[in-house]
């Protein structure tokens, strides 16, 4: 089974670095994505509580950076993620990482 990608989107700032890191790693054009940001909100949930968050979603162009991983490197998006909120690896290794936070898991 291919590696999974885990995003702790409580910390994703929507910085677009993962998108561009992937485009550069995979030689994709500016409108082609191996991973693409989605935005939640801005939504005023309560008087003083807003949800304004981002979740990057891998596309079918994403091969989990198989070549990099085989030579012992992290996927480019994971390595460069500005918030350090992305994790890649076998599903079973990632599941225990989900403690505090808000997680999106892509298998």
């Amino acid at each position: 089974m291919r590696n999974a990608l885990l995003i702790n989107y409580a910390y994703c700032t929507g910085c677009h670095t993962c998108e561009v890191a992937c485009q550069k790693e995979k030689g994709l054009g500016p409108e082609q994505f191996g991973i693409k940001l989605t935005q939640i909100g801005p939504d005023q949930i309560e008087e003083r509580k807003w949800q304004y968050e981002f979740v990057p979603v891998p596309t079918d162009r994403c091969d989990r950076c198989v070549e990099r991983t085989e030579s012992g490197k992290q996927p480019s998006c994971v390595k460069h993620c500005q918030a350090g909120c992305m994790y890649a690896g076998p599903l079973n290794d990632l599941v225990p990482l989900m403690a505090d936070g808000k997680y999106a898991l892509f298998t």
Binding site: H16, T17, E25, P42, W50, Y52, K79, C85
Partner: protein
């Protein structure tokens, strides 16, 4: 930048303090028994270059071009002499392997077809036309020398304006270039009130005697694991969006790491930013009212006795006067001015008053108001009240590491090698701008107006360093364009691109190198010094910014003053001259060096060159009421002054222009006016946007995506409406720095620069002391653009 020497007599202390305040003290470099600087990082086993998977990898620090305030550790992958990719350096403590989208696209900058790779000239009468002619460097330098000599002969060397931008390291050598050219007139190009960091750092240096910077553990090689470091209990994100802006040498995402370790945020911003949405308290203030808020927070902390009594009693000066000055600033009063709920002020004051540690992540919004000088002071006094100086998770003094000046702005002593004319005229300024005048700085509005009036002593030539003022930071670009085209007799630009400023105004274009194409010293930060490591041969004929500086110095002062034949020799000299203990190659070998930084240096005498405990101020204390300010004849405590144009100060104007205009916020991928040519960056935001609240949009018949006209008494422009509840009702937030390089050079619009240029709506009148200008609190109205 002067050293930290205190004069032994008391006279002159205030003047010294003022001079000190323009910069940060050098503190003596600690060396080991072999005379090598003592560092906190261990470089053993660290390589600066190696082979990997068919690439040659070069390790370095990213700085610059392209522009950035940071210097992340990079690995540059080179194949067949070409830079194929840039990755983050996991071992570098600064960025720990991460890299933002701008460094990831550096190869696209280097190999971009629009990049200028050869020197060029253009006849003065052809300014504005695409009539450039390729020339050799010899001819380019000859032209620059002849042009400046002619100006000197006709008007004196002071008629040259060394106009700088931000974020490229050459601007940090501004003092050297202007000294070599014999002019006192320099500064950020046509940027009234020098409204970026300087208003804050000047006023607060008078208070604390150093530049204090938020402690996100970046002072330590072992970062978040450093024994004794604490994550700030609260980070007060005040007037900036740090995760996008990365301003002032702080990587915004360090804050996210602190959040993972328990830090909570307070965000003061008229816009719901990511930080605001993730804050315990978000204070959506009316732009330009920050001083009132700071005074009210101080009021509560004093009133409820939440201040650090030990610190205030033993280490501060002027507390009674400060307490008296905030007495009338009740949260009720400030809340009405700031247009926020009063209880938020109480809550924030109590939160930071009771916190074990908190830090002030302040931003340029504090400078972007006419009285920015005082706004910074008011915010800083909260740090003083709570004793957060040199405190873990507080604000740590940024001293020049290894004697290397922060920002490499050398001390006057360090510039003794440049002959100076004792009869040099003073900088162009206005008499009432006492702060600027005491710092010996020119006023950009006085420069602009002097050129418009054709004053006998006014600017006749401009040298542009890393700046594109008619696009980016110049207030009233329409007026700037006119004087540059019609009054200035000689304009030279050092840049990578044919910018609107270069296209419209310049006579000579000098193409410069990006960081992978050159050597240099990076880490203009108090927490790291390092090398800019060359990975590839410069493209075409580009030269480093500093090679140009040295050659111009040689042309005017000869080999004796500027003997260096290579950049490496020049950096060896600069590094030795300041007593750093490094040569360039030694620095490159280890790529970065982290100084040893301790907390509470005001207690141990390590903030002052005389070794005495205390702060590097006139009284040796943290000065709530700076003695030096008193000697300047201006108020020593902050008071809130309404922006010059506001619903309160100009109600009649407000009737016609019922919205508050704020500008200058950063967008992902762009560094000010940079990045518009890079497809992977431009994709994120292809066109200029102005954010307005849904209720305002409805009121003025505007829908999301409409082109709108934004106008006021100063000027007008058009941008695309982004209708969003993120922005405060009654406020519009417009993009800056836009131009359209894809349009080509010959349609006469200078890449469309004036069409969307929000700076046409700005005022050019700096505040009381000459520092700070209203970039974030103008009035305007909006309407649908009918084309």
């Amino acid at each position: 930048m002067t050293g930290q020497k205190q004069s032994s007599d008391s006279g002159g202390k205030e003047v010294k303090a003022i001079k000190n305040a323009t910069a940060t003290a050098h503190v003596k470099c600690e060396v080991d028994e072999n005379g090598r600087p003592i560092t906190a990082d261990d470089p053993s086993g660290r390589k600066w270059t190696w082979e990997e998977d068919g690439y040659t990898v070069f390790r370095g620090n990213a700085r610059t071009a392209p522009g950035c305030h940071d210097n992340c550790g990079v690995l540059m992958y080179v194949k067949d002499g070409k830079l194929v990719k840039v990755e983050g350096d996991t071992e570098n403590p600064y960025n720990q392997g991460r890299l933002c989208l701008r460094c990831l696209t550096v190869p696209d900058v280097i190999y971009h077809p629009d990049r200028i790779l050869h020197p060029m000239k253009r006849a003065r009468e052809d300014r504005g036309k695409d009539a450039w002619e390729r020339i050799t460097w010899e001819e380019a330098f000859d032209l620059c020398e002849a042009g400046l000599r002619e100006i000197q002969r006709k008007y004196g060397p002071e008629a040259l304006y060394v106009a700088c931008g931000t974020g490229r390291d050459v601007i940090l050598y501004e003092n050297i270039f202007k000294a070599l050219m014999g002019t006192p007139n320099s500064g950020m190009a046509f940027f009234p009130g020098q409204s970026c960091y300087l208003p804050r750092t000047f006023s607060t240096n008078l208070k604390g005697g150093a530049l204090f910077i938020s402690d996100y553990s970046q002072y330590f090689a072992d970062r978040y694991d450093h024994p004794g470091w604490m994550p700030p209990e609260y980070v007060l994100v005040w007037g900036n969006n740090p995760v996008v802006a990365n301003s002032d040498g702080s990587l915004g995402h360090w804050i996210v790491e602190c959040m993972k370790r328990g830090s909570k945020l307070v965000t003061i911003d008229p816009k719901l930013t990511w930080c605001a949405a993730h804050s315990e308290y978000w204070l959506q203030v009316r732009p330009g009212t920050d001083t009132a808020l700071a005074l009210a927070i101080g009021h509560v902390i004093v009133d409820e006795g939440l201040y650090d009594h030990e610190f205030v009693e033993n280490w501060t000066f002027g507390f009674e006067d400060y307490a008296a000055s905030v007495a009338e600033w009740t949260p009720e009063r400030a809340a009405a001015i700031c247009e926020i709920d009063e209880d938020l002020i109480w809550s924030v004051a109590r939160a930071i008053g009771k916190a074990e540690c908190w830090t002030l992540q302040w931003g340029v919004a504090l400078d972007h108001t006419s009285e920015g000088f005082y706004t910074g002071m008011a915010a800083y006094d909260l740090v003083g009240l709570t004793g957060m100086f040199d405190h873990p998770g507080g604000m740590v003094a940024g001293l020049a590491p290894f004697n290397c000046g922060i920002g490499w702005m050398p001390s006057f002593e360090d510039m003794a090698w440049i002959p100076q004319d004792p009869n040099m005229k003073p900088p162009i300024t206005y008499e009432n701008l006492v702060g600027l005048n005491m710092m010996g700085m020119a006023d950009s509005t006085a420069i602009l107006e002097g050129m418009e009036r054709n004053d006998p002593y006014s600017i006749k030539a401009v040298w542009f360093f890393a700046t594109n003022p008619i696009t980016n930071e110049g207030a009233r670009p329409d007026r700037i364009l006119k004087v540059l085209q019609e009054v200035s007799e000689f304009n030279v630009v050092q840049d990578l691109w044919m910018t609107p400023t270069a296209m419209a105004c310049c006579d000579v274009f000098l193409p410069v190198a990006t960081y992978p194409e050159r050597v240099g010293v990076a880490g203009h930060q108090p927490y790291l010094t390092g090398s800019i490591t060359q990975a590839i041969e410069p493209l075409g004929e580009v030269k480093s910014d500093n090679e140009i500086v040295v050659e111009m110095g040689r042309r005017f002062h000869g080999e004796e003053v500027c003997p260096w034949k290579t950049d490496e020799e020049y950096y060896d000299f600069l590094l030795a001259n300041c007593g750093s203990g490094w040569t360039y190659k030694q620095l490159r070998e280890r790529t970065w060096a982290v100084p040893k930084v301790e907390y509470y240096r005001y207690k141990t005498g390590k903030l002052r060159a005389d070794g005495q405990p205390g702060f590097n101020t006139v009284t040796g204390m943290y000065e709530f009421t700076p003695v030096a300010l008193g000697s300047m004849g201006v108020p020593t405590t902050a008071t809130f002054v309404e922006p010059v144009e506001s619903p309160v100060s100009s109600p009649e104007l407000f009737e016609q222009y019922p919205l508050i205009l704020t500008t200058g916020a950063r967008n992902w991928g762009f560094f000010h006016s940079e990045g518009r040519q890079i497809p992977h960056l431009r994709r994120i935001q292809p066109m200029p946007h102005c954010r307005l609240h849904p209720n305002d949009a409805k009121k003025y018949g505007i829908e999301d995506g409409d082109w709108i006209v934004i106008e006021n008494t100063h000027g007008s422009c058009r941008q695309i409406a982004e209708v969003t509840p993120r922005i405060k009702e009654g406020v519009v937030s417009a993009d800056h720095g836009w131009w359209f390089p894809e349009r080509g050079a010959d349609d006469g619009t200078y890449f469309g620069v004036m069409e969307c240029n929000i700076n046409k709506l700005l005022s050019t009148t700096p505040g009381t002391v000459g520092l700070g200008n209203s970039f974030k609190s103008q009035l305007c109205r909006v309407s649908k653009y009918e084309g």
